[in-house]
């Protein structure tokens, strides 16, 4: 829908989200590109039985991973949803730190059998989401051949090599982060804060974006747009520069 809903409250932007939803969380799993304010609002909504889809999922809060020194006291990651048992399942590529001395809330939930974890190679995770957004129901990849990723998957020999069949991944909601939006939902990203945001924007029924500021489409460079507005439903920002 070309009409976009613009919010200044993160809470308002997500208040109709429901139990049992599947929710993609954008970024890479570091500070930059993560929709941190939307995540905090979602946690406070206290839903249950969620399926989360993210990349690096619960590392920062136990190791400081990917957060600036100056923000070390504000670290938030996807493990916030596990403390109060809001999550049924998480699909990600990197849910635990390498050391066993630092258990994340996600690993604790897994150990206590409160949440299921599905671990997918990062490139396959990205490609599954990209496929989900672009009408490709399944694709073949070499990634994971000969490993436990192969388990119970169809495979095919193509030009003498073995490949695994992987299916598209979609969700009910995507919470993403961009630098700037215009009122048409066109998004500009900054640096390495692209990561999973542009593909997740395409793969859900409802895409909600947190932006540093919203400006008029007259003031946005069309050549810089990373996500065309067609993929965006709701825009939240504390910094509305629309005239």
């Amino acid at each position: 829908m070309t009409k976009k809903y613009i919010y200044t409250s993160y809470k308002e932007a997500i208040k109709d989200l429901k139990d049992d939803s599947s929710i993609m969380i954008g970024g890479f799993g570091v500070q930059g590109g993560q929709p941190t304010n939307l995540m905090l609002a979602l946690r406070d909504l206290n839903l249950s039985n969620l399926t989360l889809i993210g990349n690096v999922a619960g590392i920062s809060m136990v190791t400081g991973y990917g957060w600036k020194e100056s923000d070390k006291d504000k670290i938030i990651d996807q493990s916030i949803f596990f403390k109060d048992k809001q999550v049924k399942k998480i699909i990600c590529s990197f849910p635990i730190p390498s050391s066993r001395n630092t258990l994340s809330e996600i690993e604790k939930a897994w150990i206590n059998e409160e949440a299921e974890i599905e671990i997918i190679p990062q490139g396959t995770l990205a490609e599954k989401i990209r496929a989900g957004g672009s009408g490709i129901p399944a694709f073949y990849t070499k990634t994971g051949v000969g490993t436990i990723v192969e388990k119970e998957k169809e495979s095919k020999i193509i030009n003498g090599e073995k490949f695994l069949l992987e299916y598209a991944l979609n969700a009910d909601v995507s919470l993403i982060k961009a630098f700037i939006s215009d009122e048409k939902g066109n998004l500009i990203y900054k640096g390495t804060s692209r990561a999973f945001n542009p593909i997740m924007a395409t793969a859900s029924k409802l895409t909600i974006v947190e932006v540093d500021k919203i400006v008029s489409s007259k003031d946005i460079d069309p050549e810089r747009i990373g996500t065309p507005g067609i993929y965006v439903d709701r825009i939240v920002t504390k910094n509305n520069e629309l005239s």
């Binding site: 890479f28 190679p121 990062q122 990634t143 000969g146 990203y189 990561a195």
Partner: protein, 223 residues
């Protein structure tokens, strides 16, 4: 058996840095592999890729100049450099899986004599982080492993068969450890370099599969 002194992380990183081909695109794994960048010979004209979506970075930023939008996959904050480019995760792994990278340097828990790699899950933990490693080992033209030769319990990490869950099969080209450099070939593992003070027998005693000693065996190259 008592053994001579082993090399340290910096030595391994220096040795691995020598592997990076001139005019190449390289992805360095988290931890020890990323130390390589420190020893980079500038004239080699190497461009680094990180799977979070960046090509062309060089320096780590100072603590008080960190930019949250400029980071590598290991969580290190970077400094802007001319000719950098950014891309999303689907494009980043298209680049990786599509065979566009010349080399990746990765850490390892175990490597088999066939070049199988296990680097993402400790066996008895039952859970681990795959990250981008499975894509990197199938996608990069050459895979270099850097690791300690044995575990903290002094058990070999170079094995006939890995017993930890695999990252990839038949994918490792060269193993650089704190006592040796070993090339994975069809006929087996070729020992090509050995640390100061070590004998081939001593290296063999810490390695499960039979090593083939290269007739060009040399001293492990250090700074």
């Amino acid at each position: 058996m008592s053994y001579p002194k082993k090399l340290n992380k910096e030595d391994i990183a220096f040795r691995a840095s020598l592997e990076l081909p001139s005019d190449s695109y390289v992805n360095l794994g988290i931890g020890m592999p990323s130390l390589c960048a420190k020893y980079l010979q500038k004239e080699k004209n190497i461009t680094f890729q990180a799977e979070n979506g960046i090509l062309g970075f060089n320096e780590i930023s100072k603590e008080d100049e960190q930019d949250e939008n400029l980071i590598d996959a290991g969580g290190q904050f970077l400094v802007k450099a001319p000719g950098m480019s950014f891309f999303d995760s689907a494009e980043s792994f298209g680049m990786i899986r599509g065979n566009h990278l010349d080399m990746t340097v990765l850490g390892a828990l175990q490597v088999s004599e066939k070049g199988d790699l296990a680097n993402w899950m400790i066996k008895d933990r039952g859970i681990g982080s795959i990250g981008g490693a499975m894509d990197l080992v199938v996608g990069a033209k050459e895979v270099i492993v850097t690791m300690d030769h044995v575990t903290k319990e002094n058990k070999p990490k170079i094995l006939k068969e890995c017993d930890f869950p695999l990252t990839g099969i038949n994918c490792v080209n060269k193993i650089i450890t704190d006592i040796a450099v070993i090339i994975v070939e069809d006929q087996g593992l070729i020992l090509t370099e050995i640390a100061e003070g070590w004998s081939t027998e001593q290296v063999q005693s810490l390695t499960e599969p039979k090593l083939i000693v290269s007739n060009k065996l040399i001293r492990y190259i250090t700074k």
